[in-house]
Symmetry: C2
Subunit: 343 residues, 2 copies
């Protein structure tokens, strides 16, 4: 399956999911203020998104013998999770753009944006209660417990990253980075979607460790590539270019640069990064140049490749026994797409 | 029952609930950053609180023949709700103090505080899944739906109020105020606690309208009094004095003032309020003086009294048939306490 074919498939999945989500969210209200809240809740879910996480969960479910219609509520809730988290992330990171448009707090102010994120968060749980009717109470509650664990992991990872920024810390190791990423990214991007697909397919409790190692490695490979894309991709990426440097994100590229750069260059990089949001465009370019000069981008590419290969190996171990259905072929393509995207 | 006896009773309830909640929240973590997140999640729940809402739910449950131990998870979740909402409220309102100490974002910065609120929010749902074991899946599911409705109402009410502040709107009527308060305050403070107590006591679905009118009136009476306390109470209140004027809250007192003040004075008040957070202490005092001069505080007291009397009348209709247990006597005292607190 080529990546063009995969993207076409994702696009049709995405359209279906987007309609489902927008149907599940409140539409309009006679009180203009409340009507605006509904518009804000619908804003991010209406913007273009690849819906990677729900697609992963649906394909994992199908590959393991489950029915796609049993997965709809849960997949939609995964996408709503992504959306409320992004609303709050964009505030926490002081981002400017999201999916090609200004972030919600730029459009409506910070207080309303925090509150809209909370309202969307609650809708996620509201949607999950619908699983009681679709899948029965027992399975619905197991799914909720997976969501509780997922939010726990994500908020912990987010806290670790934000704490480094808050304290202006730059004395970080690769292990610090991997811990942060496995919590902040891997869990909700890979571990939880696969576990949820497995849970719905098997309709009974699953083991604590199922998909955890695979999902963590896949997520780390995915995140490192995302970090690199942020540094190198063009406007189609939908965020500011090198926005991670502006926002002071501790990426593997930057951590490596601070490890390998000569003493004088290292101090220059640190001095720039410590300026926080007061960095100039020239400052950002300077850091980017050092990243190239010291081979830190290539280093991160190689590390990403290691995690990706490990994930692919585990994919074969986990799904190897599953029949070679269309769903399995698509699932493998999606996993490959997540970790071998063009730089 | 005197209000001193009631407060003693609430205090013992509160101590039990606080222990229960702190037991349910994560304690410590070997990674110092994550340990800090846990400390932040435990901060507001550790501060002194009267636990009015869980107390109301427990007493309503007992009065209607339910067991207090069946209500513990739900009551604790109500208090956790209050705590995560306060974390985000304090950011949205740019408050300075909460329960006598600096607000969470003053202690740890805004990004970490938003995230800690989200983590606590998810813990509320995590706790609610425990009801599956205590009360069975069906009842647990109904309780979750009440929580979904409660968060919906609260975020809508919060949005209405924040929207007025964001747009610097002062052309508001009493009806605008009542709509905002019934959503922002009444639902989670009165309607939901009573409905949840009823639900757990009866162990079967309850009617859509149960406790709604009673809870709304009780909540409006409670909120107007809270607004007045904010203007008149001393340091024991735990927030800044007249903090609502500083924060630009549209209280009934202020709405009345803008209705009845002479044209010149009205313009002075509006000009001060439009300064948003840039108001001086003298500005705040000026508004306070006008509120006294034009009788707006007394007006609000009278309106509060009307809602309170209506709530008390409905209390007798709703609970009149219930046996005269200790719980019922305490419940009536609590309801009276909520609406007849000393100015």
């Amino acid at each position: 399956m080529t990546s063009v074919e995969l993207l076409d498939l994702l696009e049709s999945n995405t359209a279906m999911l987007r309609n489902y989500i927008l149907d599940a969210l409140p539409k309009d209200h006679s009180v203009p203020e409340i009507d605006l809240l509904y518009k804000m809740m619908r804003d991010y879910p209406s913007r273009p998104s690849k819906c990677l996480r729900p697609s992963l969960s649906m394909l994992a479910c199908e590959t393991l013998g489950g029915k796609i219609e049993d997965m709809m509520v849960t997949a939609a809730a995964l996408e709503i999770f992504q959306n409320w988290v992004l609303i709050h992330d964009d505030i926490e990171d002081q981002s400017e753009f999201r999916r090609g448009s200004p972030v919600l707090q730029k459009l409506h102010g910070l207080p309303l944006a925090i509150n809209a994120g909370d309202a969307l968060h609650a809708k996620m749980w509201g949607l999950l209660t619908k699983n009681c009717d679709v899948l029965g109470d027992k399975l619905a509650h197991l799914i909720m417990k997976e969501f509780v664990k997922m939010v726990d992991e994500t908020t912990e990872g987010q806290h670790v990253e934000l704490g480094w920024i808050e304290k202006n810390r730059w004395d970080l190791s690769e292990d610090d980075y991997f811990l942060m990423v496995q919590k902040k990214t891997s869990w909700y991007t890979c571990v939880a979607p696969c576990r949820l697909g497995h849970l719905v397919a098997s309709r009974k409790p699953i083991s604590k460790n199922d998909f955890v190692r695979f999902g963590i490695d896949l997520g780390i490979g995915f995140q490192i590539r995302d970090d690199i894309l942020n540094l190198t991709a063009d406007r189609r990426y939908g965020k500011e270019i090198a926005g991670d440097i502006v926002e002071g994100k501790r990426t593997l590229v930057l951590i490596n640069l601070l490890e390998v750069a000569g003493a004088r260059d290292k101090e220059i990089v640190k001095a720039i990064m410590k300026k926080r949001k007061a960095k100039s465009q020239k400052d950002v370019q300077k850091v980017l140049e050092f990243m190239k000069k010291y081979g830190s981008i290539d280093y991160a590419k190689n590390r990403a490749e290691e995690f990706s290969q490990s994930a692919l190996k585990q994919f074969e171990q986990i799904f190897g026994h599953a029949p070679n259905t269309k769903a399995k072929i698509r699932l493998r393509s999606l996993v490959e797409y997540m970790i071998v995207r063009d730089w």
